[in-house]
Symmetry: C2
Subunit: 337 residues, 2 copies
């Protein structure tokens, strides 16, 4: 039987780049183990060096193949690359993820590449929180480029893709609705647009449409700002992958130069704090609720009471008119620092 | 310009079965408007008569067509039918939902049928909460059968399907993985299994596999319990729809007779309380967090502090060691009733 290695020890090993320790820490972060939290806190304070790339797109857009090809290209540029594939909290897509991973077998034998599927589900804010924990663990483990791949369905997934330094949105021709990115609320989060399957004759229209759409947004833009570009990519003949890798690097350099990178870091930190706090808040609240559930459910069932007033009373007791207190306390500690 | 009708007035009109009032109340529930909450509380206390059917299945399983056919069948049995299609908090599936709705045009002209797509996104627990609010509004509005259609991807969606009196899980042949329901954690929630597209020659294997799978679970079952059945359905030639409608009625009668229906109501009430409380809790918490965000994000950005300790401090201030207090207070009011 494997002995239980304390998370603090795993931090030491992960920091030396030991893959098994990295994997175990990510698993513990996913599970939301209490024991692991001080270790994740330590990891966070050590992290912050890697370039994090978010890649998202609707199902069928060819994201996973693109990610595999991009990773191979980044390897040629001597980057250590980690890929985090976020499974949208769905147990069933286990299958499709597995399929995607098979395309990545060439990469899998390269020690400079780490591939991980996240299968978090359940906990509120859990997926975002544990994905960003995984980013930090990999960062501390020595990966200099970390790709987060999420399916562009669902607000959480889109937000996770946005919580990166460079966000790539993938669209594909032939998925029925040509500009999928707009519907998904993904147009505004893209730093770089990729049109995949550009070996197909109908891909050109999509490139043109996207470019036109982006031009419409130009008027309101700060001229210093990064202008999103559109790159056609074909996994079939390899077109565009090199250009994409270069564009990603160009975006990183530009945002560091204009100070946009820092703004983005602030937004990521804020998102992260929110998701972590939500997790802790609901964890505690549910503990309080647990012993009361049967009696409360029974009262509701009889329709003697409604869920709003019951919830309101529970929450008011749990969160007393303490907004002022909380504010004062929290302001106090931000001042202390 | 339309005058703002107070939600309390909409309750009166919705109770008379006025469709515009029903629609507006559902929209307000979706938006989570404060003004609407007392009205929703009143609706809840009045509701509880309708038979709620949850229908779920992986994408491509033919759920929407099945729902349309089932609704038509229930109409022939003189039921007033409402259909709530839950869009998995994804803005982009607007498109596909629209497509599905087109198949429902025949139904749409029937005043005994109401069809509604829910497009809630964002708020924690929001989708489940507002879907169940919509169920009550339709119940009070005089619909005696309410179908909730959710895509079986994601835990929330599966939980919503489960929050019904009768849960139907749809599988289809040819989707790659034959027993999709198992992976999706949907096997155990099904009261009735439907295998759609049973005009296809490969559907029979799926029926047999599902039946076998269900037999494996028999040993551990209380003999009084409902045994899930498997029904082959074809939207192409109409096979099985009548049988499905009958089976749904049979399930309802059986669970009322064995007392399972009450157990299920308790579970739904408990789920509902939890989701409503989560919404209120996070709403309040985020208000507290808002003014502090910039300073906190900046401290995190410098990696001087980590999200866990920051969140923990915030949450501890917001939820003081009040677990005992909350428990006492909440117990007090359950005793009062």
């Amino acid at each position: 039987m494997k002995r239980f290695v304390p998370s603090s020890e795993l931090v030491v090993r992960a920091s030396r780049g030991e893959i098994p320790a990295i994997s175990r820490l990510i698993t513990r972060a996913e599970m939301g183990l209490d024991e692991c939290r001080p270790a994740l806190a330590e990891i966070y304070r050590k992290a912050g060096k890697a370039h994090v790339i978010g890649i998202t797109g609707v199902p069928g857009s060819g994201k996973s193949t693109l990610v595999a090809n991009l990773a191979a290209q980044l390897r040629r540029r001597n980057k250590k690359v980690a890929i985090i594939a976020v499974d949208p909290s769905s147990p069933y897509s286990g299958g499709s993820i597995l399929g995607d991973r098979i395309r990545m077998t060439e990469l899998a034998s390269d020690p400079g590449v780490y591939i991980r599927s996240m299968a978090t589900r359940g906990a509120v804010g859990g997926m975002a929180r544990s994905t960003l924990d995984a980013v930090d663990i990999l960062d501390v483990g020595g990966f200099d480029t970390i790709i987060i791949e999420t399916v562009g369905v669902g607000q959480d997934e889109v937000e996770i893709a946005k919580a990166s330094h460079t966000t790539v949105v993938v669209s594909a021709p032939g998925l029925g609705d040509e500009i999928q990115a707009i519907k998904a609320g993904m147009l505004e989060i893209a730093d770089i647009h990729v049109v995949s399957k550009c070996d197909r004759s109908d891909s050109n229209k999509l490139v043109v449409d996207l470019k036109q759409m982006l031009t419409l947004g130009l008027a309101s833009k700060d001229p210093k700002d990064w202008l999103p570009t559109v790159i056609g990519v074909s996994s079939y003949n390899g077109t565009g992958i090199d250009e994409l890798a270069t564009e990603i690097e160009r975006h990183r350099a530009a945002s560091l130069a204009t100070g946009r990178a820092h703004q983005r870091e602030l937004a990521i930190a804020s998102f992260r704090l929110e998701k972590t706090a939500e997790t802790l808040l609901i964890e505690r609240f549910l503990k309080t609720l647990e012993p009361l559930r049967p009696a409360l459910a029974s009262t509701l069932c009889k329709r003697e009471r409604d869920p709003y007033s019951a919830a309101n009373e529970l929450v008011s007791n749990a969160l007393p008119q303490s907004i002022d207190q909380t504010e004062q306390a929290a302001r106090a500690w931000t001042r202390r620092r």
